[in-house]
C-alpha cells in the first residue's frame, strides 16, 4: 500500500478502514512516560541518542509532547495543542496547589499524586461555600488560550500530523470533583446530598465549558481531533457505577461539555475519551454520546480483554492503547513486550479502529522496553495484519 501521511492514517483508522499501518501516538494524547528517574524521559532520550532533548510539557511527574526527534523515531502520528493554565502554587517541598480549582498534588518519590486527604471542599455543606470558594477559574484569563490558535493553524498547515486539542485536566469534571471533595465523598454526595452534588458538578462543568468555548472558537477550525474527556470511570474490578447511575449522575455533564466543543469544530473532527479501568458496559454509553476513540483499555481490568472489546464494540468505536502496563510493561522482558504488543495488535487492529499507544509507563521501566514496544508496533502493525 502507498504510504499515507500521519493525518490520513489516523483518520482512516478512526473511520474503521485499514490504513497503511496502525497509527501511533507517543505521548501526545495522554501521559506516557515519567519525567523523573530512575529511568523516564531523559533515559529514553539518551538511549535513542537524542542529545540535549527539548524540555517537554511536564504535569504531575509525567511527560506530554516530548522532543520531536523522539516522537519521529518512535513513529508518532499526532501532535497536541495544549491548553495553557496558570502556574501551580508550591506549598513546602512536597505539595503543589493547582490553579484553577485549588486542589493539592503531593510528591512521593518519583510520583505525583492528587492528595484526596487534603480535599479543600471536603467539609463544605452549603451551596454558598461552593460559590465562595476562592479557586474557581476566570475563564477569560488569556493564559488558557495564549498562542494556541496560531500553533494549531501552523501545525495543521505545515505538518501532516493529526492535530489534537488538549485541555488536560480542564476536561475532567468528575476528577476535579474527586480532588475537591474526596473520591468516596463523590458517591456519598450523589446519594445523600444530590442538590449539593449537582450544584458542585454544575459549577465545575460550567467553568471548564466556558474555558473550552474560549479555547476552541479559534483553535477548533485547525483540529483533527479533540481530547474531549479524561474522567476515569472504572476500577480494576469494573465500572465505578452502573450504566443507570452513569446516565443519571454523570452523563449529562459529559454530554454538555462534548456539545460545547462540537460547536467549534467540523463534524468530522474526532472525539477522544481517556477512561481508565474496567469500563466494558459503559463503552455503550460512550458510543451513544458520539465519542470516536476510547483509551487506554486497561488490559487486566474486569472484562477488558482486547478480543471481547473488539467483538462487542469494534465496529462502533476506535480503541487506543490496550497495552498491559501493570505487568508486561512494568516487569516484563523485551521479549515479553514484543510478544504482548504483537498479540494486542492482532486482536484490535484488523479492519482499522485501533491506535497504538501506551499509557502511564512508570519511571522504573528501562527505555529498551519502551522502544521495543513501539518498534514492534510499526513492524507488526503494517496492514494487512498477519
Amino acid at each position: 500500500m502507498t504510504e499515507m501521511t500521519s493525518r490520513e492514517r489516523v483518520l482512516t483508522a478512526i473511520e474503521h478502514r485499514e490504513p497503511d499501518r496502525i497509527p501511533i501516538d507517543f505521548a501526545q494524547l495522554q501521559y506516557l512516560i515519567s519525567a523523573r528517574g530512575p529511568y523516564g524521559y531523559d533515559a529514553l532520550a539518551e538511549y535513542l541518542g537524542v542529545g540535549d532533548p527539548e524540555p517537554p510539557i511536564e504535569m504531575f511527574g509525567m511527560v506530554l509532547n516530548p522532543d520531536p526527534r523522539i516522537k519521529e523515531r518512535l513513529g508518532n502520528d499526532f501532535v497536541g495543542v495544549q491548553m495553557g493554565s496558570p502556574p501551580p502554587e508550591p506549598e513546602g517541598e512536597n505539595y503543589l496547589r493547582m490553579v484553577p480549582f485549588g486542589y493539592y498534588y503531593k510528591s512521593v518519590g518519583p510520583y505525583w499524586y492528587p492528595d484526596y486527604t487534603r480535599a479543600p471542599l471536603k467539609d463544605a455543606k452549603t451551596l454558598e461555600e461552593i460559590e465562595d470558594y476562592g479557586y474557581w477559574p476566570d475563564p477569560d484569563d488569556p493564559v488558557y488560550v495564549q498562542g494556541a490558535a496560531e500553533r494549531a493553524k501552523d501545525l495543521h498547515e505545515n505538518t501532516t500530523l493529526a492535530v489534537v486539542g488538549e485541555p488536560l485536566l480542564l476536561a475532567a469534571t468528575c476528577h476535579v470533583y474527586h480532588f475537591l471533595r474526596g473520591f468516596e465523598q463523590w458517591f456519598i454526595d450523589m446519594k445523600l446530598n444530590p442538590d449539593f452534588y449537582h450544584a458542585l458538578m454544575t459549577r465545575i462543568n460550567d467553568s471548564i465549558i466556558e474555558i473550552a468555548h474560549n479555547f476552541y472558537k479559534d483553535v477548533g477550525p485547525h483540529l483533527d481531533m479533540v481530547c474531549a474527556n479524561i474522567d476515569d470511570m472504572g476500577a480494576q474490578t469494573g465500572p465505578y457505577m452502573s450504566n443507570a447511575m452513569y446516565e443519571e449522575y454523570v452523563k449529562p455533564y459529559h454530554l454538555k461539555y462534548l456539545d460545547a466543543v462540537r460547536e467549534h469544530v467540523d463534524p468530522g473532527v474526532k472525539m477522544f475519551y481517556h477512561c481508565d479501568g474496567g469500563i466494558f458496559p459503559l463503552i455503550e454509553e460512550y458510543i451513544d454520546m458520539g465519542y470516536d476513540v476510547v483509551s487506554p483499555v486497561t488490559y487486566h481490568a474486569k472484562d477488558m480483554s482486547p478480543a471481547e472489546l473488539k467483538k462487542r464494540y469494534g465496529q462502533h468505536i476506535t480503541f487506543h492503547s490496550g497495552i498491559d502496563v501493570q505487568e508486561v510493561m512494568a516487569v516484563g522482558s523485551v521479549d515479553d513486550v514484543k510478544r504482548h504488543v504483537t498479540e494486542v495488535i492482532r486482536e484490535l487492529a484488523p479492519g482499522g479502529g485501533y491506535i497504538f499507544s501506551i499509557e502511564d509507563i512508570k519511571p522504573e521501566v528501562p527505555p529498551a522496553q519502551i522502544v521495543a514496544a513501539f518498534d514492534t508496533a510499526r513492524e507488526v502493525g503494517c496492514y494487512p495484519i498477519v
Binding site: V108, I188, L192, Q236, E364
Partner: protein, 215 residues
C-alpha cells in the same frame, strides 16, 4: 423497626435512615451486637454478593461501607457494655511511595464487619511503621495495599522487615491491590491475597480459622 429495614438502608447507602433505625432498635431493647450481626453484617455480605454477580458496583460498595461506619457510631456506645465477639486484630496500610487509599479503606471496613479490630496506618506507610504497629497492637493479621506495580514491589520489604524484627511468625500477612495476583503474593512470601475487599474477608477467615486466631 426491623432488620430488613436496616439492611435496605445499608444496601441503598441511606446512612440517615440506617442511623435512625439502629437507634430505634436500641431503644426497643435489642442488643447492639444483635443489630450488628443481624442487620449490618448481612447487608454488607449482600452488597459483596451483588458485586460478584455484577448487580452492584464500586459506588454502591463505598456508599454501603460509609453507611456501615455511620451506623456503627450509633451502636458503639452500647458495645462498651456488651463487646461484640472479636475475630482478631488487624493492622492495615498502603505501601510506602503510594497514597491510594480507596481499596485499603474498603478492606479495613470489611474486616471490621467480619469482627476484626482494625488499626489503619494510612497511606505511604514505611516497612518500619508496619513493624512498630505489630509491636504496638499485637495483631494476628497485617494487610498491605498497593495500587501501582512499582510500589507493589516494595511489599516484600514489609515482609523482610517483619522477619528482621522477629515478628513475622506472629502474624499472617495479606496483600492486595490492582496489580497483584496470587502468584505474586506467594512469590514474596505473603500468606494471603484478596482479589477485592470481599474476598479479603474470605481469605482472612481462611488464614485465621473461623473462630479467629488466638495467638
Amino acid at each position: 423497626m426491623s432488620y430488613e429495614q436496616l439492611m435496605t438502608a445499608v444496601i441503598e447507602g441511606d446512612s440517615g435512615q440506617a442511623q435512625l433505625t439502629c437507634q430505634q432498635m436500641l431503644d426497643e431493647g435489642i442488643a447492639a451486637k444483635d443489630i450488628l450481626h443481624g442487620g449490618l453484617v448481612p447487608a454488607m455480605e449482600q452488597v459483596g454478593q451483588g458485586m460478584e454477580t455484577g448487580e452492584y458496583f464500586l459506588g454502591e460498595v463505598i456508599m454501603a461501607a460509609d453507611t456501615f461506619h455511620r451506623a456503627m457510631e450509633v451502636l458503639k456506645p452500647s458495645f462498651d457494655n456488651e463487646a461484640p465477639e472479636k475475630l482478631g486484630t488487624a493492622v492495615i496500610g498502603t505501601i510506602a511511595g503510594d497514597i491510594h487509599d480507596v481499596g485499603k479503606n474498603l478492606v479495613a471496613t470489611m474486616w471490621e464487619t467480619a469482627g476484626f479490630e482494625v488499626h489503619d496506618l494510612g497511606i505511604d506507610v514505611a516497612a518500619e511503621r508496619f513493624v512498630e504497629a505489630v509491636r504496638e497492637h499485637s495483631p494476628q493479621l497485617v494487610g498491605v495495599s498497593a495500587e501501582i506495580t512499582t510500589t507493589m514491589l516494595g511489599m516484600s520489604d514489609v515482609i523482610q522487615a517483619l522477619e528482621e524484627a522477629g515478628v513475622r511468625d506472629h502474624v499472617k500477612v495479606m496483600v492486595g491491590g490492582p496489580p497483584l495476583s496470587l502468584e505474586y503474593a506467594k512469590s514474596i512470601g505473603a500468606d494471603g491475597y484478596g482479589v477485592d475487599c470481599f474476598d479479603a474477608i474470605v481469605q482472612a477467615r481462611a488464614l485465621l480459622g473461623e473462630s479467629g486466631a488466638q495467638s
